[in-house]
Amino acid sequence: MNMKMLRSAACALAVIVATAGCHHKPVAVTPIPTSSPTGVTDTTSLPSTIPYNAPPQNPNGQPIPPVANSDLANYDQNPEKLAANTIHFAYDSAVIRDSDQANLQAVAQELQANPREALLVEGNCDERGTEEYNRSLGERRALAAREALAKLGVDPSRVHEISYGKDKPADPGHDEAAWAKNRRDDFVVLTPKMGA
């Protein structure tokens, strides 16, 4: 080792000593690139702790636990009778629109006029959104109609509900016109089978 090399080695050591002595440099390197991802549309920062176990913010009041569907086989299903009263939802929403109140009143009247009938609410979604997310959203849509009907005086024990997520689109298309039709609650009238 010549003098020059010795000197540069000493310099390098001095740098290490200086930095180590000051505790400034992190010893580990973070592996993930910090470059911005493509397709960013939502950059909102949110608090790291969720205000929790607060009462659910349900526009329809307290949640109403669903009823079992195990006795559905005892009913004939009539999807035509209230087909005109299908209600529709905004994207990513389970909030019932004011414009659908008339449809809900028609459904409530059908049940009030026919005490032997029951109802099946079928919650559905468009194809946007992942499958299980849509299954939960469809469930919320069906439960929302059930809660709204309860407000109109319908006994919730007469109202069955089911979510099909995005598995049963009304329109198989892939545009907004189809999606708007698919974000819906269908109302199926249940009539007790003869002898049931």
């Binding site: 050591l13 290490i16 000593v17 180590a20 002595g21 010893v27 580990a28 390197v29 973070t30 592996p31 993930i32 690139p33 911005s36 991802p37 397709g39 960013v40 549309t41 939502d42 950059t43 909102t44 949110l46 608090p47 790291s48 702790t49 969720i50 929790y52 176990n53 659910p56 913010q57 349900n58 307290q62 949640p63 109403i64 636990p65 669903p66 079992a68 569907n69 195990s70 559905l72 990513d92 389970a94 946007r128 959104g129 992942t130 499958e131 299980e132 997310y133 299954r135 939960s136 469930e139 919320r140 439960l143 509900e161 089911i162 979510s163 099909y164 997520g165 598995d167 049963k168 198989p172």
Partner: protein, 394 residues
């Protein structure tokens, strides 16, 4: 003299720190070493393959590609793989840089496909030290037009598919029981979305969760506990129970259509998709209940379908802006998520670097397998219909 003493102690201290840094880098495996295994940006390891044909060659190329290797000519390869596949599989691997043979083995007793997977496993394991995936299985949903479908199980590359249901009902969300040939899945067979448990050895199944309302998205911890989505309380929320269904407990109480729970590998946390302040978010909550915390995904719209890697380091999820994207974020939130490829429903393999997911091709869902470090991905063999919601056996 005193000055020299101070200098000496400083040098010793520096040496200690330097050693500690090296020890830490080695300790926490390859992730922390700069220039290696960066999520989405790692160059593949070049290998050459000679002597194999047909099915064996196809299997080797697939298995190596989705675990971060790339086939090149022999003179450019770090690992030279040779052997034969006439009769049984025989394989040798030479590390050109280390100038030594690292593997030489023959395989017998199974078909060529299986033997080639076993050889690929031995090679990948020798180089990366990670758990083997070549002979693992995936479960997935196959949907026909109209919505009904069946649950299928196949090799991880889509070969040897087998329907494990024949109900013609809507099905969803298959989930493996860790360490067992058994699945939970959702079926509308009884007129309601219920969760079934099915032992794949005996074919026996039972209705595991058939509560009023929605029962779906089972996820199983290493000790057999089940997290799932139930709406029996009036909203789709996260619930947990033991393997026999006992000790059922509601963990979340939102009005926000929670979905897709998954477990941290240590069983301490359950990560799930929810909505907070009108924004879709990922959150995690202690598995015994308590305060949930957000999993930072800021800038990645509509995150859903989280899946926690078996080594505990990563959470993969689906983000949806215009299209669906497969994203991965460090589980400890130490840095931002990374977008890898278009697709949805990621599920980790046992090696914590390869994912299976589904993606849309001409409005049909197909399954693909992705190496998260190199972003190399390949479609699996297909079952006719929409193949989706894959789950990798662990």
């Amino acid at each position: 003299m005193k000055k020299i003493q101070i200098y000496l102690s400083r040098i010793l201290f520096a040496g200690f720190l330097f050693g500690a840094a090296i020890a830490q880098a080695q300790d926490s495996s390859e992730i922390i070493v700069p220039g290696r295994l960066q999520m989405g940006f790692t160059p593949p390891i070049p290998v050459s393959i000679s002597g194999f044909t047909g099915t064996a060659l196809e299997v080797l190329e697939f298995d190596l590609y989705v675990q971060g290797f790339k086939v090149v000519s022999a003179d450019q390869a770090q690992y030279q793989i040779s052997g034969s596949s006439t009769g049984d599989v025989v394989g040798h691997v030479t590390d050109k840089y280390a100038r030594k043979e690292i593997l030489s083995r023959s395989y017998t007793g199974a078909d060529i496909r299986r033997e080639a997977h076993a050889f690929a496993d031995d090679f990948v394991s020798a180089v990366t030290g990670r758990p083997k995936i070549g002979q693992t299985k995936i479960a997935f949903k196959v949907e026909q037009p109209g919505g009904s479908g069946e649950i299928y199980v196949s090799d991880f590359d889509g070969h040897n598919p087998q329907a494990i249901t024949t109900d013609g009902a809507i099905v969803a969300a298959p989930a493996w029981v860790p360490g067992r040939l058994a699945l939970y899945y959702t079926s509308y067979k009884l007129g309601n979305p219920d969760i079934f448990y099915q032992d794949l050895s005996s074919g026996q199944r039972r209705n595991f969760a058939g509560y009023p309302g929605l029962n779906t998205s089972a996820a199983v911890s290493r000790d057999g506990k089940v997290a799932m989505i139930l709406s029996r309380g009036g909203n789709p929320n996260v619930w947990v129970c033991d393997a026999d269904g006992s000790n059922l407990k509601q963990l979340t109480f939102t009005h926000a259509d929670d979905s897709s729970p998954c477990w941290s590998p240590d069983g301490q946390w359950i990560c799930y998709a929810t909505k907070i302040h009108s924004h879709r978010q990922l959150a995690k909550i202690p598995a015994t209940g308590g305060e949930p915390q957000t999993v930072p995904t800021s800038g990645f719209p509509n995150p859903t379908e989280p899946d926690w890697s078996p080594d505990g380091k990563w959470i993969a999820f689906t983000s949806q802006g215009g299209e669906f994207d497969i994203c991965v974020t460090p589980a400890d939130g130490s840095s931002r998520p990374v977008t890898l490829v278009q697709g949805q429903h990621p599920s980790w393999s046992p090696n914590s670097r390869t994912l299976v997911y589904n993606q849309s091709i001409n409005y049909r869902q197909v399954l693909s397998v992705l190496d998260v470090f190199t972003k190399q991905h390949k479609n699996t063999a297909r079952v006719s219909g929409d193949d989706s919601e894959p789950a990798w056996e662990k």
